[in-house]
């Protein structure tokens, strides 16, 4: 007996990427949006063609959970930081490891600056080592990367850094901390320029909007907040009833997507329905939720808008990355006010 099973790949259907065996930690598009990078608590970051979900390759080498990835503007190099106390630089075209920078504790966040001449990474405060922010020169993308010494080293007093972005013109670095504070650092002197505490609990993610004038934070205190990137003034608050793990701003509409769910520890004790693992869409200005997209059966850990704004991706605790193209109703939708 022959049973016929049909799989039809439409681009409207969400594409599920199952390249990770464990919970996703971060996903990022490159500047053109044709590639989607993902890393998880397993040891291999993946790269996918965002259009059809085809896997281009994996970056093999880490031997610990990969916490963070970033790709430069030309999609030449990728950096990844992992719990194996290393920051690695990869060639995106062939997946080979260019360099491996050994660090004293787990690398929690990493980011190229705009020109990709420099990169910032932060380390966890474990094994008796303090949390530190390092800025390194990455222009020499060869074996010497492994011996790179930091241009600038900033010791963090207090709660550890959980997310990092570069400020405008690479003059500042903005870090989100485990206790909800946001700190702005001067990249030339290494001094703290500004510190605010608008969140009551740990910040899980910080993402800039498409022109880099604002950034959105996702916090465990069940809110996502929008800040000005220059003076860190609080602009908007998006409130949910679950911890927020990631938030992103649409590049084409005044929309914000917020994802989260309860903590990984508590997932097994609640049903999927109660979990509220939907990606939720808020209006950027009116702070009002207007739509939801379900899909994951675990909390969403990382969200990213495609740079053209026509699709978005989410990486979940369930180990899946979902590429969701917006249907026509999203583009036709007008917010009533």
């Amino acid at each position: 007996m022959i049973t016929l099973i049909m799989y039809l790949h439409h681009f409207q259907k969400p594409i599920l990427l199952h390249g990770h065996e464990r919970a996703l930690t971060q996903i990022k598009y490159n500047r053109d949006g044709d590639l989607l990078f993902s890393c998880a608590k397993d040891q291999t970051p993946n790269v996918w063609y965002s259009l059809n979900g085809e896997r281009l390759g994996t970056f093999n080498g880490h031997c610990g959970a990969v916490w963070c990835i970033d790709v430069d503007w030309q999609t030449k190099h990728l950096i990844s930081g992992a719990a194996d106390n290393s920051l690695r630089l990869w060639d995106v075209s062939n997946g080979s490891e260019i360099g491996n920078l050994a660090v004293r504790s787990a690398v929690r966040t990493c980011a190229f600056n705009y020109s990709a001449n420099m990169a910032v990474y932060t380390t966890d405060s474990t094994y008796g080592f303090a949390c530190e922010i390092h800025i390194i020169d990455v222009r020499n993308a060869d074996e010497s990367f492994s011996k790179t010494s930091s241009i600038l080293r900033m010791q963090v007093e207090g709660a550890k850094v959980t997310s990092t972005i570069w400020g405008p013109l690479d003059k500042t670095i903005i870090t989100g901390h485990d206790d909800g504070t946001i700190t702005q650092w001067d990249t030339t002197t290494g001094r703290i320029m500004n510190t605010i505490k608008e969140h009551k609990n740990a910040i899980n993610d910080i993402q800039k909007n498409s022109d880099g004038t604002m950034f959105i934070t996702a916090s465990k205190d069940c809110t996502a907040k929008l800040f000005d990137v220059e003076d860190l003034s609080l602009l908007k608050t998006y409130t949910t009833e679950r911890p927020v793990n990631s938030a992103a701003v649409s590049p084409i509409f005044d929309h914000v997507v917020v994802g989260g769910g309860q903590e990984a520890m508590e997932v097994t004790t609640t049903s999927t329905k109660a979990g509220k693992f939907d990606a939720r869409f808020f209006h950027l200005i009116f702070e009002e939720e207007f739509a939801r997209v379900k899909g994951h059966f675990g909390p969403i850990n990382s969200l990213a808008f495609h740079p053209d704004g026509k699709s978005f991706s989410s990486g979940g605790e369930d180990g899946f990355v979902r590429i969701q193209s917006f249907d026509q109703s999203y583009f036709d939708y007008k917010f009533d006010y």
């Binding site: 790949h9 969400p14 990427l17 390759g57 997209v293």
Partner: protein, 274 residues
């Protein structure tokens, strides 16, 4: 492309089957009409042969040079041995998921509040001084009459209503109802209504409106419909604004052929008979 496949003898196949070996037909790929159709086979849990057909749409898109160059990169890492196109073991299409739009909270609250407030206003605040109706004295339809009646009758029912039991008084009985009754029956448009019967079941409200519009202004239009199917039950009532229009309509439409049926039109009978 069956010609290129290694031809296996049926004997080998039969032998394999006899020995209990699982034999899978080879996977085939056909590219036609912009679709790549991959047919593969597998054994399911019950050891039954399953045929899996996956079809992929092949699209050509214009992209920037950098993106095009990246598209030609060789796969690496764990994907090094993958064929062009998504590898079904780690990329698959999910169930279609639609955005669920949530209407604003404020919008849903407003309609609830407003009618309530309106009701309040109507019941309590607005009361006609001449007839106790739920409208402003200024807008009282019986204003002319009341001004005449007032000096003679001194409004016994109205004063009674105001003093104690605020019972419901039907409009026909309010304020010396007898005369009013006559008036209102004239005012009411029953007399101006016509009944159209022998309409075809396919007639819609819109059709009916089109049919009677040319005869003059219409007050009300009622098309009897089947509750379940929404089909016309064959008759309708039209309330014209003027009696003259109604008369013309009857003259013209009675015996008029409409949708293969001959219409029967007459004055609507007042339902005093029932």
């Amino acid at each position: 492309m069956p010609a290129l496949e290694p031809i296996e003898s049926w004997a080998e196949e039969a032998e394999a089957e006899f020995e209990g070996k699982k034999h899978l037909p080879p996977t085939t790929e056909v590219i036609a009409n912009g679709l790549k159709i991959v047919t593969s086979y597998r054994f399911n849990d019950d050891d039954k042969l399953e045929k899996i057909v996956r079809s992929y749409k092949i699209e050509r898109r214009k992209v920037s040079k950098a993106v095009a160059a990246r598209k030609l990169w060789k796969k690496y890492g764990e994907s090094a041995n993958d064929k062009p196109g998504p590898n079904p073991s780690n990329t698959f299409a999910g169930e279609e998921v639609y955005m669920q739009f949530i209407s604003g909270k404020e919008d849903s609250d407003k309609p609830d509040e407003n009618p309530f407030e309106k009701l309040k206003e109507q019941k309590g605040l607005v009361k006609c001084r001449s007839c106790n109706g739920d409208h402003w004295t200024l807008h009282c339809p019986y204003k002319d009459m009341m001004t005449k009646l007032k000096p003679e009758e001194k409004l016994p029912p109205a004063s009674g209503g105001a003093s104690g039991e605020q019972k419901y008084v039907p409009p026909s009985l309010r304020d010396g109802g007898g005369k009013r009754g006559e008036m209102s029956s004239n005012l009411r448009h029953d007399a101006l209504a016509i009944r159209i019967s022998n309409l075809s079941p396919n007639t819609s409200d819109h059709d009916l409106e089109e049919l009677v519009k040319p005869f003059g202004a219409i007050n009300k239009l009622y098309l009897a419909k089947e509750k379940t199917t929404g089909q016309c039950r064959g008759f309708a009532y039209i309330h014209f604004k003027s009696k003259e229009d109604a008369r013309i309509a009857i003259n013209k439409l009675n015996g008029y052929g409409y949708d293969h049926l001959i219409l029967k039109v007459d004055w609507s009978k007042p339902n005093t008979t029932t």
